[in-house]
Symmetry: C2
Subunit: 385 residues, 2 copies
Amino acid sequence: MLNFDYYNPTRISFGKGKISELDKLVPQGAKVLVLFGGSSARKTGTLDEVKQALGQRELVEFGGIEPNPTYETLMRAVEVVKAENIDFLLAVGGGSVIDGTKFVAAAAVFDGEPWDILLKWGANVTQAMPFGTVLTLPATGSEMNNASVVTRKSIKAKLPFRNDHVYPQFSILDPTKTYTLPERQVANGVVDAFVHITEQYLTYPVNAAVQDRIAEGLLQTLIELGPQVLANPDDYDIRANLMWVATTALNGTIGSGVPQDWATHMIGHELTALYNMDHARTLAVILPSLLTLTKEAKREKLLQFAHRVWRLDQGSDDEKIDLAITKTREFFEAMGIPTRLSDYDLGKQDVDAVIAQLEAHGMVALGEHENIDLAMSRDILTLSL
Amino acid sequence: MLNFDYYNPTRISFGKGKISELDKLVPQGAKVLVLFGGSSARKTGTLDEVKQALGQRELVEFGGIEPNPTYETLMRAVEVVKAENIDFLLAVGGGSVIDGTKFVAAAAVFDGEPWDILLKWGANVTQAMPFGTVLTLPATGSEMNNASVVTRKSIKAKLPFRNDHVYPQFSILDPTKTYTLPERQVANGVVDAFVHITEQYLTYPVNAAVQDRIAEGLLQTLIELGPQVLANPDDYDIRANLMWVATTALNGTIGSGVPQDWATHMIGHELTALYNMDHARTLAVILPSLLTLTKEAKREKLLQFAHRVWRLDQGSDDEKIDLAITKTREFFEAMGIPTRLSDYDLGKQDVDAVIAQLEAHGMVALGEHENIDLAMSRDILTLSL
């Protein structure tokens, strides 16, 4: 096991009816900016439930935070925070709204040009406004970590940052709030959580038995419940478990003390920035190809994945590994998510464009061995056609 | 899954050499009371390493915190805190030293008679001194939770309390510090962690797939590595994984959103208070009998335990359950821990004494169904003879 530091002070309030606890979680007398995405927060009644729970507090609404939240939109929220003397932020939504709120929390009190936060990966953040979240879309884990990804539309850049000051003070996870999600977003969430786990699990062994067993348990839960949620969208326990898997997948539990990959995410981010592909769909396209082409470096963990997660005990080691990768692809497809670039009308010429963006963003040494260079990224993308 | 609240702000610093980070974890200028147990902290050099890492800070030592720390000893530490104007506590040891330090942290600033903290299970604690820990004995999980157990020798009472104010600010877990532990303490730690997990896992099903999978992974890790640590006491990764299992077993990860039992602990506490039996040994004696006698109420989870943890797929359901309980007993015995009261020279007359203590302490409705009354406790103890 590698040495590690673990720290996660986010308070989780989990279960049906928990939105009512906002009144004790948000400081009395705070002037609150409620940040949300499109019209669904309003249509589903969640926004009203939130406002009612906040009681007499003065509220300002900021809607319109888009999927893959943009710097352009978020800087407008920063202006509202300053103009309205806001002192608490409340994100109501999924990973995009929460990621965006983290950026607003840091940017509103940042000394300098806030885009620098992204350019320095968050290392220059020394304070942030307090904020909480009401999660409506389980997927990214942003509700219980210190990471965020922001897109700058004008230069087609999608960049991450992380800093301990942007842990949510609390997150409310009410599984019933996910009943009304479109099937596409539910499927995306399952795949997103799955790949968050593989990014921390499918690397090379360091004898981290605890983290491995937990990662395997989370993957098994997704494989078991992912198809079930599509068939039984109103089953509370399925929703609750998928919600809690997605949070646990990226709150430090399985990532502490192990090497991490994240190449699939970095390549995927460029596909989203260039072609507006759903984040999870980029991961579903890239992961199978990446695993195929890094099979030797990931050999031992892929075998463990085949054995413990997919229960594959027949055939040669190579056959087991190949079958585990095939089953992973089939799982994504069974969730209704196509796994080829051609399924998204992208072709060879687009590979060049992605490689140019990776180069422009310095993504030239990706993966747990930092050996996925531009040539290897090109091979991965080509195999994904 | 049941509704739950999860909050755990303890910072973990894990790995070889991490004691050196004390300098950045303990406030500069703090006057520190270093609390420890017997002579081993001094003999092994850990105390010296801690003192060196604390640099120029003014230190006071308080040694002699016993296994099952006593109110009598801890109140002497409280006096030292007050007399010396201590402003930070540092526990160096295992669960007993850490539990004791939690009590000192709360009692030193408690308004009233500190024994009331135990009588009210901690509900009356409104503040506590800041403290950190350097863990040398993985077992109780106290290094990353808000719970503590204190014994009052004069009345042979061993009582728990919990409160969010007694989360350690940080805990340093250096697996190499466990190399010099006596085999008996290592074995006790493995069994203690095992039973912490079963207390939260072997109840009745609430479709908490995530918590179940994690609990099963932790149990499998203990079953796999427990015997190995006895054979290879200097293997870093075995030590690291056992240390991290013990912490994860009781930091809220597997206990959130599920029913909990804890009857084995409550009965075991009386055995320790009366006969000074090692805590883990009381658990190893009680658990197999308790599972046997609550088989019907725990049926579904016992079958899941048999199937997923012990991989038992042959025979009738009853046979699988009985074999899983037998294998659990055999695992404890393989760790060198006898599992019968008679192995500790206790007999029928001692059952009466334990029952009298349970009654005196109000332990008359134990377990996840609160249906383990004194008659059932008597049956469990009798079956443990």
